[in-house]
């Protein structure tokens, strides 16, 4: 039963990633695209956790944590750049 749930979840999250990617492509403004990237990395974390559940391996947790950290810093850096025109002041 869990295998079926994980399969359905894979389809849903992949669709979610596709929708975020659609927003990334059409914009229309720069913050919209940053928001889409932000959502895209959260979707990726979800995909990695599902992969870990499917393959029964706890190794993917580290990758998920790294993506969370780097994605967050990336979003902040991009926002700062749009706000100030500079990242490191």
């Amino acid at each position: 039963m869990m295998a079926l749930a994980v399969t359905i979840a894979f389809v849903l999250v992949a669709a979610a990633a596709a929708l975020s990617f659609w927003r990334l492509l059409i914009g229309p403004s720069a913050p919209d695209r940053i928001l889409a990237l932000d959502t895209l990395y959260i979707n990726t974390i979800a995909l990695l956790i599902l992969l870990g559940l499917r393959l029964d391996s706890a190794l993917y947790f580290e990758a998920a944590l790294l993506i969370a950290v780097i994605g967050f810093v990336g979003t902040l850096a991009l926002c700062k750049y749009l706000l100030r025109g500079d990242i490191i002041e």
């Binding site: 849903l12 929708l19 979800a46 599902l50």
Partner: protein, 108 residues
């Protein structure tokens, strides 16, 4: 029983993640779009992580609580990136749907 609970959590997580991205794709302006991912997606990934923690804790190799760390991290960072994105949107004066009694900030 446990499997049913896990399946439920996984499905709920996936559905919330999907709805978050759906909101991102179909809501009308930037500021409304901002709500979808910061909320729905956080809870979606949150319940997936809880499912994962329960699954690996019941595998017989002791507790596995480090998934809590990712959940915690996402719950702390999601509002921060949401706030900064909102600030950026205001700064760039993105078009916003609003009403007459709108008392929004007017950044210089």
């Amino acid at each position: 029983m446990l499997e049913a609970l896990l399946s439920l959590l996984i499905l709920a997580g996936a559905i919330f993640t999907f709805i978050g991205s759906l909101g991102l794709a179909r809501l009308p302006d930037f500021f409304t779009r901002l709500h979808a991912p910061t909320k729905a997606t956080t809870l979606g990934v949150g319940s997936l992580l809880v499912a994962s923690a329960i699954h690996f804790s019941t595998q017989g190799e002791g507790m596995s609580l480090h998934e809590v760390l990712v959940t915690l991290f996402l719950f702390i960072t999601a509002p921060v990136s949401g706030h900064l994105l909102g600030k950026t949107g205001l700064h760039l004066r993105l078009p916003r749907l609003g009403r007459q009694d709108d008392e929004g900030p007017h950044p210089g």
